[in-house]
């Protein structure tokens, strides 16, 4: 599932969505560069960790590539599988909330009814120092 999401992200990026500087060959030779892996790891916080994982990723991309075999010329793309469904509109009433205690039980650390998180985002360089990955 996540592989497909990654692939969709790549394809969307290839169409030049804002903010993305394409690092992969959009036509997909299937090869995934070390640079791309690093970029993906940063974006998704998914650890590719090993050669095996990268190989699996390449296989997943190849699998999804089979979609290209379908001729979609002149066919309007779907937005979602829910396209024809009716979007339900809820009335503006307060019916939920007031369950702070319950929610806070999920948190490892709590301070006076606040969730505790580490300060900001941990910078990438710190992570690199901890576990060097070996990529192609």
């Amino acid at each position: 599932m996540w592989a497909r999401a990654v692939h969709l992200g790549l394809r969307a990026a290839a169409r030049g969505r804002r903010g993305f500087t394409s690092k992969a060959d959009p036509q997909g030779s299937g090869r995934v560069t070390g640079e791309l892996i690093q970029h993906l790891e940063r974006l998704s916080l998914v650890d590719f960790g090993s050669q095996e994982a990268v190989a699996r990723l390449e296989k997943a991309i190849a699998f999804a590539d089979r979609l290209r075999a379908v001729n979609t010329d002149g066919v309007e793309p779907m937005e979602s599988v829910l396209e024809d469904r009716c979007l339900y509109l809820r009335s503006d009433n307060v019916v939920e909330g007031s369950c702070a205690e319950e929610l806070l039980q999920n948190s490892h650390r709590v301070v006076e009814e606040y969730f505790v998180a580490p300060p900001g985002n941990i910078s990438w360089s710190k992570l690199d120092e901890k576990q060097p990955f070996s990529h192609r």
Partner: protein
């Protein structure tokens, strides 16, 4: 913020405006001495805490600045955009959070009808095209106050596009020189707000409160049609008034209900646009214009000294009065936009396209919403001008001060004095006293009824204008007395006996033959001296205009 108030804030810049007009709002770098050889190693930050108007040097082309805005307005609704938890400003942390807001697995977004209506009404008020079909997307980024790891927004197809916002700026020194400018509204989209993070540097941790997470926001994108801080601040003020009139947002910047980010670049006229920087954290109306103007000046200084502008995000430090770089060098953010898989497209209808037999709760009719739109500020201002014969700039001030319009209308209702008199008293005397003591209309010690009663006394000629001012000052001290009581206590009633006045005038003329001679010789100011003398004699109980009339009559006979 009213344009007049802005001018008080930035007196130094009126000089520039008077000459080049706010339209171009052109800026020059500071004079660098004999040559600008780019050797100024000091950063602009330390050198330019305040904006000063500069004269353009002869022969050098001027700069043009371009300002675009991204405004987030919190929707005034009872519950959140996609969940049924309450929207409220101050509440115990994490008490207004549903399972969906906390992003617990298995929860799904359910769209709030009121938020959609708010978006459509705002779009209609800004003359936007309302998209009959709009879509929801996910914008991914990791941050502790965004529990889902993505924000649901409308990136591909927002609910409203291509509108415009009109606002008025002063182009000269005189208050009457107002022109209308418009800024194009690129789009309006619905999106979720994030939670709040409180940074605890001491213990190296961040405390997260999700009460705000999931509240509906309207993101309004204004095209870079503005050219300086004043234009941007005025446009934002007008937008605030519109949102408040519609009731779609309380748009209170202090409470975080209205947040503004600015995109600023400079270029030489005729050349392509320059690199832009994004300035965030403009969360106060006061600092909005200041920050934008600072950034414009910083960019000009940088370019004139041979430097270059980085496409970066900066923050406004209001203590230092300057912008500072914000984000660390992560490179461009990739938000990995994808369609929100749990929400079908949002379909809107008009009277012509309403599906028959549809549940009215489940369909939104744009035409119906259009009919229900309340009076917009620019229409209110026009109406005030027509109804009460006031000047356009007066109507601007009335609308710009919170509660002032209501106060004014209450006074007009209760007094028989002419509206023009009421306008003058409310905008000059009343507002003057408020500003002097930095009070809001709601904190005024003088009620509309009290002012109405005072104006009635004046209108009946029971007291003179100067006496009325005195009474007003007394009323302001809020000792619980009515205007009539104060007049009686201080014996401020006008002399009602015309014969007594005639006597006093005659005796004054007799007692001061030198002044009379002076007047007869043609000195026009001598009459004022005489009026003053009579006033003193009457212990301030005669109206200066009446005195003048009697004196002139007596002198000419």
């Amino acid at each position: 913020m009213a344009a007049p108030m802005l001018r008080w804030c930035c007196p130094g810049r009126r000089f520039a405006f008077a000459r080049v007009g706010c339209g171009s709002c052109q800026r020059r770098g500071p004079p660098t001495g004999s040559t600008s050889n780019g050797k100024r190693g000091q950063s602009s930050v330390a050198q330019q805490p305040h904006i000063t108007a500069q004269k353009p040097r002869k022969g050098e082309p001027e700069w043009a600045a371009v300002v675009g805005l991204e405004i987030h307005a919190q929707i005034a609704s009872n519950s959140k955009l996609f969940s049924g938890s309450q929207v409220c400003f101050a509440a115990p942390p994490n008490s207004l959070v549903s399972f969906f807001d906390a992003s617990l697995p298995g929860t799904l977004p359910v769209l709030n009808r009121r938020c959609v209506e708010a978006a459509v009404m705002t779009g209609l008020a800004l003359d936007c095209h309302i998209n009959r079909k709009s879509l929801f997307d996910r914008k991914h980024y990791f941050y502790a106050d965004l529990p889902a790891g993505y924000q649901i927004t409308q990136q591909r197809l927002p609910i409203a596009v291509n509108g415009s916002l009109a606002y008025s700026v002063y182009v000269g020194r005189k208050p009457s020189q107002m022109v209308t400018r418009t800024v194009r509204v690129k789009q309006i989209q619905l999106e979720q707000d994030s939670g709040k993070s409180l940074h605890d540097g001491l213990r190296s941790q961040t405390l997260i409160d999700l009460n705000r997470a999931g509240i509906g926001l309207l993101e309004l994108v204004l095209e870079p049609d503005m050219s300086c801080g004043e234009e941007a601040a005025t446009a934002v003020r007008e937008l605030q008034l519109i949102l408040q009139a519609l009731g779609t947002s309380q748009a209170n910047m202090a409470e975080g209900q209205l947040r503004v980010d600015a995109n600023i670049s400079v270029h030489r006229p005729g050349e392509p646009l320059g690199i832009r920087t994004e300035v965030k954290n403009l969360n106060s109306a006061r600092f909005l214009a200041k920050a934008i103007d600072y950034e414009i000046q910083r960019q000009i200084n940088e370019l004139e000294n041979g430097g270059e502008i980085l496409n970066e995000t900066r923050s406004f430090d209001f203590k230092l009065g300057c912008t500072v770089p914000m984000r660390d060098k992560e490179g461009k953010q990739d938000y990995r936009f994808m369609p929100e898989p749990n929400l079908p497209p949002l379909l809107l209808y008009d009277s012509g396209s309403l599906p028959s037999g549809a549940d009215p709760q489940q369909v939104i009719n744009i035409d119906q919403l259009r009919e229900r739109l309340p009076e917009l500020p620019r229409v209110t201002r026009q109406r005030l001008v027509q109804q009460y014969g006031m000047l356009p700039e007066h109507s601007c001030v009335l609308l710009n001060e919170v509660g002032l319009l209501e106060f004014f209308q209450n006074v007009v209702k209760e007094t028989r004095a002419e509206p023009k008199k009421v306008t003058s008293w409310v905008l000059n005397t009343f507002l003057g006293f408020l500003k002097q003591q930095n009070l809001a209309v709601s904190e005024s010690p003088v009620t509309p009824s009290a002012l109405a009663e005072l104006l009635d006394l004046l209108d009946r000629k029971a007291i003179s204008a100067p006496a009325a001012k005195q009474v007003f000052e007394e009323l302001w001290r809020n000792e619980g007395k009515t205007p009539a009581q104060i007049v009686a206590e201080k014996k401020l009633e006008l002399l009602q006996d015309p014969e007594a006045l005639e006597q006093l005038c005659r005796s004054t003329l007799e007692a001061h033959p030198d002044v009379v001679m002076d007047l007869k010789r043609g000195n026009p100011r001598a009459i004022n001296k005489l009026i003053g003398l009579v006033r003193k004699a009457t212990l301030g109980r005669a109206d200066p205009t009446a005195i003048k009339e009697v004196l002139e009559r007596q002198l000419s006979s």
